[in-house]
């Protein structure tokens, strides 16, 4: 089925991006996970009507995209696909919050529109950050970093296995739904009955596969303990990376830079205007 292949493709592409070798890619994964988390927390800590102050935060994705040599178009496209889902709830705000909070010339802008726009900007920033994290770090490394930051090993192992077999099982699922589609002739045969049987088959196959994997693990001396490679060290570079971005985030959080710029510019303009 086209959609299955489509979504697996995104997965593959992000994974390929992570295989690049740039300054950012070489950093220890923990540093990147921390910075992205800090970024997201800082961004969402803004009040609901704040809009302009969030804009400078785009500096983070911009710098990362450039330094990590990510294809900006790809990231933008992916983000654009996701935003509508986040905005779906925000779009109700203009209905329920009509108090005018801002006006430009004769246009009055209600709080609802402001907070809706704020939600969209937040969504763009947070989604971009999350996607970038995988693109500059790689899923495996993110898992490793999370483990070293305290995530239980059982979950790490779960994630690694899952990532490994996503493609295999997605292929199975795609093949099965292809078989169904070829004999379903339109909507007939796409009902719950065939779906349940198909999913049941997929489940049995997956289960049996898990049993064989377990056998393979036992055959190689598995005794319940997982030895994960822990490469990479949190050195000076990482420290600088985290501290640097933290400083930037804090400055941006507590000074509304666009407003300052705007203030300066308008003042300049006004000053000129006052001179007859």
């Amino acid at each position: 089925m086209a959609t299955i292949e489509g979504s697996m493709l995104d997965f593959r592409q992000l994974d390929l991006l992570a295989a690049q070798d740039t300054v950012i890619h070489r950093l220890d994964a923990r540093a990147k996970v921390l910075v992205v988390l800090l970024f997201i927390i800082t961004v969402v800590s803004f009040g609901r009507y704040e809009l302009s102050a969030m804009v400078p935060f785009f500096i983070f994705p911009v710098v990362m995209v450039v330094l990590a040599d990510l294809p900006a178009g790809f990231i933008v496209r992916k983000v654009a696909l996701v935003i509508p889902f986040a905005a779906a709830i925000g779009i109700f705000n203009p209905l329920f919050d009509q108090e005018i909070r801002l006006s430009i010339g004769s246009f009055g802008i209600s709080g609802g529109w402001l907070s809706c726009a704020s939600i969209v900007v937040r969504a763009t920033l947070t989604v971009t950050a999350a996607l970038m994290l995988v693109a500059v770090t790689g899923f495996t490394a993110v898992c490793g970093a999370l483990e070293r930051l305290g995530m239980p090993q059982a979950l790490v192992v779960q994630l690694l296995f899952m990532q490994r077999y996503l493609f295999v099982l997605a292929d199975d699922a795609a093949n099965a739904s292809r078989a169904r589609e070829l004999r379903a002739f339109g909507n007939r045969g796409m009902g719950i009955g065939p779906f349940a049987a198909m999913t049941g088959h997929l489940l049995l196959k997956s289960w049996e596969r898990a049993e064989r994997i377990h056998m393979a693990m036992l055959a190689r001396g598995f005794q319940g303990e997982f030895y994960l490679q822990r490469t990479g060290a949190f050195g000076l570079r990482e420290l600088l990376f985290v501290a640097g971005w933290l400083a930037v985030f804090m400055i941006l959080r507590f000074t509304n830079i666009p407003l300052l710029i705007g203030e300066a510019v308008t003042r300049l303009f006004i000053a000129q205007a006052t001179i007859p």
């Binding site: 089925m1 959609t3 997965f11 988390l37 609901r48 302009s52 804009v55 911009v62 992916k78 889902f85 986040a86 705000n93 209905l95 329920f96 005018i100 801002l102 006006s103 430009i104 010339g105 004769s106 609802g112 939600i119 937040r122 969504a123 947070t126 989604v127 999350a130 995988v134 059982a154 979950l155 192992v157 779960q158 994630l159 296995f161 990532q163 996503l166 099982l169 699922a173 739904s177 009902g191 719950i192 779906f195 999913t199 049941g200 997929l202 997956s206 289960w207 898990a210 994997i213 377990h214 997982f226 959080r253 666009p258 407003l259 300052l260 710029i261 705007g262 308008t266 205007a273 006052t274």
Partner: protein
Amino acid sequence: MHMADALVSPAVGGTMWAVSAGAVAYSSSRLRAEVDDRRVPLMGVMGAFLFAAQMINFSIPGTGSSGHLGGGILLAILLGPHAALLAITGVLIVQALFFADGGLLALGCNIFNMGVIPAFLVYPLLYKRLAGQDPGGTRLTFAIVVSALVTLQLGPFAVVLETLFSGLSALPFTTFLLMMQPVHLAIGLVEGVVTAAVISFVYLARPELMHVARRTAAAMVFPMRNLLIAFVCAAVLTGGVVSLVASKDPDGLEWAITRVTGTAELTSPDTKLHMLLAAIQEKVAFLPDYAFKKPVASEQSASARAENRGTSLAGIVGVGITLVLLIVAGALLKRGRASL
């Protein structure tokens, strides 16, 4: 039903993170204690299975629309609650990282809504009681459908509460509730029917699979109470701490920093500006009169209006310039890198 980062406040996100992290940690330790290491690859593969299965569509009779499996209850029944929670968490993390479904901060909410609720609330408290020890066809189906219905009522309800407490959406509580619950009643029914059909298929094919789940489920009944207490404590604690640092109104984080640094100016760069603008406005007609006049008379005070005008103008100009600067900075950086 995924919560997005954009709709979550740090307080709500942090609290739910703590709760879900607690549940995940608890499940992990329970699984570690188990001797059966067969489960290690099983959980991972079943997570991948759920992922793959969610991509298969079916058409819902009589509606012309199509649906897909949710799978929370399915995994809980097949793997037992602890393994199911980890498997679902895995799916949600992959969705958050690769498909930007939900988000990193909202992950806590999503794990709770779609993992903790089916695995730790609905499964032990409802499903097990309804299904009993060795359920036959009808009873099993009934138990599954009811469990799915309840899961898909509690989940969206949690979404409503989390959104509400985050304070970013202006949707009134009842409106939001009315939007979410009835729709999910239908979704829950479909989910229940589909899950029951899949389970009964597996039950016919390999009945022994179901015993694996039953064995571990039996082991989890007692510590439920401790677990719940732990959750509540974690929630209250983090909720308290986080909201102290970052309550939504007034902007707590700023407030806290102001207290620390003692620089009130930091927080309100616009006070200076609005005074300035108000003063200027009286002296000069910077723009023709009507430009600053609002079409609808508002109840705001003149100074507040002036503040708004000033802020908006400076804000818009500033945002524009910032964006240009960002683009220029990006382009320059790129050139710099390319020439390296």
